[in-house]
């Protein structure tokens, strides 16, 4: 198991300030580690990777890693990524978004990226809150939970990012928690090499903005909750509905290998050119 940390250090931008900006125990760092290990395991050269992020704490991740990186605007990371992929399909385009980015302001782009099946690897870091801007509720804040903007408890039902993305037709959809780094490595690795639109939702604690308002004394308490309640999807489907509310399902929700939009586009161009590439 050794050499894991050295490997990660090899991919970091050592001109940046470390330790990174995230709060103690923020799960975003664990996801960055997993992404680096997965890229390394798949043998993808650094220069072939474009890491596109939106705005938010999760949007800070590309700052630290030595790939081609683009820090875009809140909610629109997928639109930049779609353009990059269509302009140069040889690049491996990875998109990092928070739940606010991906499913709240950017929900429409997520749905249509999945529908189009554009060849991207999307990582959604779901901490159930707007972390960076002070803990406002997002579209994934669970029903009844407290946030700056839901001081008496969230009255709206939350989105299930994995289920929505699956329903929109994405090739590969999976979910893990940051307490499952090894599972996360496997899922991200698959999401990197599978064609079409691939999404991994990662459940990650934000104690600063979410945990403190929701009766978690420490960040470690949030990790304990994840450890106890992560349930493989195969087991989850047979659980009674009231039990389902208390756990988080993890694993692979959908796995297809339909051609990505950029491949269909290239094919169409070839057809229209009378067979020439």
């Amino acid at each position: 198991m050794a050499k894991v940390t050295q490997l990660i250090h090899n991919y970091l931008r050592h001109t940046k300030k470390f330790p990174h900006v995230f709060c103690p125990g923020c799960g975003h760092g664990i996801v960055l580690g997993s992404l680096i290990r997965s890229v390394h395991a798949q043998g993808i050269p650094k220069d072939d990777i474009v890491l596109v992020a939106g705005i938010g704490c999760s949007g800070r991740i590309p700052v630290y890693v030595d790939f081609n990186t683009v820090h875009t605007t809140h909610g629109r990371a997928l639109t930049f990524a779609t353009g990059i992929k269509l302009a140069n399909p040889k690049l491996k385009v990875i998109v990092i978004m928070g739940d606010g980015d991906a499913m709240s302001i950017g929900g429409n782009h997520l749905m249509h990226s999945a529908r189009r099946n554009i060849g991207l690897t999307a990582l959604v870091l779901n901490n159930h809150i707007y972390g960076m801007t002070g803990g406002q509720s997002s579209s994934t804040t669970p029903f009844g939970c407290y946030s700056t903007t839901t001081p008496f408890g969230q009255m709206e039902k939350e989105f299930d990012i994995a289920e929505i993305t699956k329903a929109c037709g994405a090739n590969f959809v999976a979910r893990a928690t940051v307490m499952q780094a090894n599972l996360m490595d496997r899922l991200i690795s698959t999401a990197l090499i599978n064609p079409g639109f691939n999404l991994v939702e990662v459940i990650t604690p934000c104690h600063t903005q979410f945990g403190r308002k929701n009766k978690y004394k420490t960040t470690v308490d949030m990790y304990k909750w994840l450890k106890k309640n992560a349930t493989p999807i195969e087991k989850y489907v047979d659980m009674p509905p009231e039990k389902k509310k208390e756990v988080v399902s993890t694993g692979v929700f959908s796995h297809k290998d339909c051609a990505g939009l950029e491949e269909r586009y290239a094919q169409m161009r070839q057809n229209l050119n009378g067979g020439a590439a």
């Binding site: 198991m1 050794a2 050499k3 894991v4 940390t5 050295q6 490997l7 990660i8 250090h9 090899n10 970091l12 050592h14 001109t15 940046k16 300030k17 470390f18 330790p19 990174h20 900006v21 995230f22 709060c23 103690p24 125990g25 923020c26 799960g27 975003h28 760092g29 664990i30 580690g33 997993s34 290990r37 800070r60 700052v63 820090h71 940051v178 307490m179 780094a181 090894n182 490595d185 420490t218 960040t219 470690v220 990790y223 304990k224 450890k227």
Partner: protein, 99 residues
């Protein structure tokens, strides 16, 4: 992987550790504890079973778990994955980060 105790060296980069406590709480062998600065430190290195949990779950890449007798066929691998010299420097960087 053999879960034998005492085969590893465990190191915490104090400058990168934020004292979140994930490693201290979840290490199955009680290897780590908090020091008086609230950061993680190695208390019982000989108890480490090299499970790898702490390395992949530290959000700050501050833990190193390394087999003691790193020789032979593993050498090349070690070389290619070494922390670059600049990494050590950047543990105390003065340059400002741009956003």
């Amino acid at each position: 992987m053999a879960k034998k105790k005492g085969q590893t060296i465990v190191k915490i980069y104090q400058d990168w550790c934020k004292g979140c406590g994930i490693c201290v709480t979840f290490c199955p062998s009680g290897v780590l504890r908090f020091n008086n600065q609230g950061k993680a430190e190695v208390a019982h290195e000989e108890e480490c079973i090299n499970c790898g949990f702490c390395e992949v779950h530290c959000p700050d890449f501050a833990i190193l778990v390394q087999p003691k007798n790193e020789t032979g066929s593993r050498k090349n691998q070690t070389e290619s994955m070494k922390v670059p010299a600049s990494a050590e420097d950047s543990m105390n960087p003065s340059n400002e980060e741009i956003s």
